[in-house]
């Protein structure tokens, strides 16, 4: 007994997850409960995303896995290997060539197309959780569209920091109805959520799946006098010179030297291959 069923999960489980995904797509932003399975990885490592990917993959698909934008970090490498072994699908690091992209905490810089699916790993799907701990109450608040509390959080931000300091997992309202946690992506990525690709969100421990269909209206919550701002570090990428990408800050030595690099490694690499170069681009190459 050496072979796994295609993409690890048995067919009945995938069927159950697909039903949840379809329901999620039919009601954008609504958290659909599903019977999350034990996966061969700890909670918090993307068990929800992996189950959604497993239910989404077909043998013809090409999979890309990113973690904080990078293809080469532990989480991304191990999930990619997991599906190479259990599904035998082709994998790639190039955003444009992938048909299914599983992501943790980022949306790729390259624009996604209609034939792509973006799968998010979600730690806590309930945006109201830290303000209202009761699940019965948050469900009622979603049902009755009582979202005033979400603004209390933003109010607290402004009163304490002078601006909306929430920088990731910034709450959005989907299609004018459900308030949704976009998973811990930086708020820089929020405007990209109105995209051509299908977006699926899986939370394994919390047993919730939700979805944003293509071209769905996704609005970041804000105040009239403190509008939403998609912020990023005010630098160009030190390797590829890009000024429009989300940057990671990397400390280089103990003397205070640091560099800013694209968090999307594929975007950075493809730009450098096309001849772009940043401040430290030559040395690194």
């Amino acid at each position: 007994m050496s072979d796994y069923n295609f993409a690890y999960l048995d067919e009945q489980t995938k069927r159950m997850i697909r039903r949840a995904i379809l329901k999620g797509l039919a009601v954008p932003g609504y958290q659909v409960p599903f019977a999350s399975r034990e996966m061969p990885m700890p909670y918090g490592w993307g068990t929800g995303g992996v189950q959604v990917s497993a239910a989404t993959l077909t043998p013809e698909d090409t999979l890309k896995v990113i973690d904080q934008g990078a293809d080469d970090t532990t989480n991304a490498v191990s999930i990619r290997k997991f599906f190479e072994r259990t599904a035998g699908v082709a994998t790639t690091e190039e955003t444009a060539k992938a048909s299914v992209i599983q992501t943790r905490h980022r949306i790729p810089e390259a624009e996604l197309s209609e034939d792509q699916i973006l799968v998010y790993q979600v730690p806590i799907p309930e945006p109201l959780r830290f303000l209202e701990p009761r699940e019965t109450e948050t469900r009622k608040m979603h049902a009755l569209q009582e979202y005033g509390l979400m603004h209390v959080k933003l109010y607290e931000d402004i009163s304490q920091h002078g601006a909306i300091a929430t920088a990731y997992a910034y709450p959005v309202k989907v299609e004018g109805r459900y308030v949704m946690d976009p998973s811990p992506i930086p708020k820089f990525d929020n405007p990209k959520m109105e995209m051509a690709a299908i977006q699926l969100f899986g939370a394994g421990r919390e047993q919730r799946i939700y979805a944003v269909p293509p071209y769905t209206k996704v609005v970041s919550l804000d105040f009239e006098d403190y509008p939403f701002e998609a912020s990023k570090a005010d630098h160009p990428c030190d390797l590829c010179g890009a000024e429009d990408s989300y940057l990671d800050e990397v400390i280089l030595d103990d003397a205070g030297n640091r560099m800013f690099v694209c968090s999307d490694t594929d975007y950075c690499r493809s730009r450098r291959e096309a001849g772009h170069s940043g401040r430290l681009g030559e040395e690194a190459a």
């Binding site: 005033g148 109010y155 607290e156 402004i158 009163s159 304490q160 105040f223 009239e224 006098d225 403190y226």
Partner: protein, 256 residues
Amino acid sequence: MTPLLQVKNVAKMYGARIGCTDVSFDLYPGEVMGIVGESGSGKSTLLNSLAGHLTPDRGEVIFDTRADGPVDTVTMSEPQRRMLSRTDWAFVHQHARDGLRMSVSAGGNIGERLMAVGDRHYGSIRERAADWLGRVEIADSRIDDRPSAFSGGMQQRLQIARNLVTGPRLVFMDEPTGGLDVSVQARLLDLLRGLVREMGLSAIIVTHDLAVVRLLADRLMVMKDGHVVESGLTDQVLDDPQHGYTQLLVSSVLQV
């Protein structure tokens, strides 16, 4: 004049035991109704049944809504009732901790109701929060402090501000002065009396403290074992109690 609230034969049972039963009264705009009685007499059960926290087993609670006139709040849909409890109703809990968000600043606590009804302008929310802090005698400089840093009396005043900011017409109060020392109680009562008069609020106040109803209430209901045993004008009931239990209650108060 249409009564603001008409209560008709409200009853709430806990299994075979009586919570409160056969309660009927009318409350007119600007009127303050006191409900007194000993612990376990059904005062809080009645208040929670009226405010929609409990569903009464029998009877009607008819509220004169701004939009649709008198509506039975027991049978109205839950979204409507919850909307009512955010706008036209207010509920002041005995323990301020039950009515406040302890992890949110004073300003956020006051602003929550405003944001719940759709206010999305930070500046105006903050301005109104500051205004209300002033009206309940809390210094402006405390607007960004959390209620956990406040004294018991301040927490109670903050809870009142948080409830009154949307200009409700009916306030339910459950022992608003419970657990406060007498001088703080006196100031709170003074403040409440001022706000009730100034805003023309109607209120239903549940308390076991006769001094509170003497000061605030126009009318009084005395409850015992889930039944209303006596009702009438406050001064009349307190100065000339007819029912045996009321006489006991009035004579139990220590004269200093």
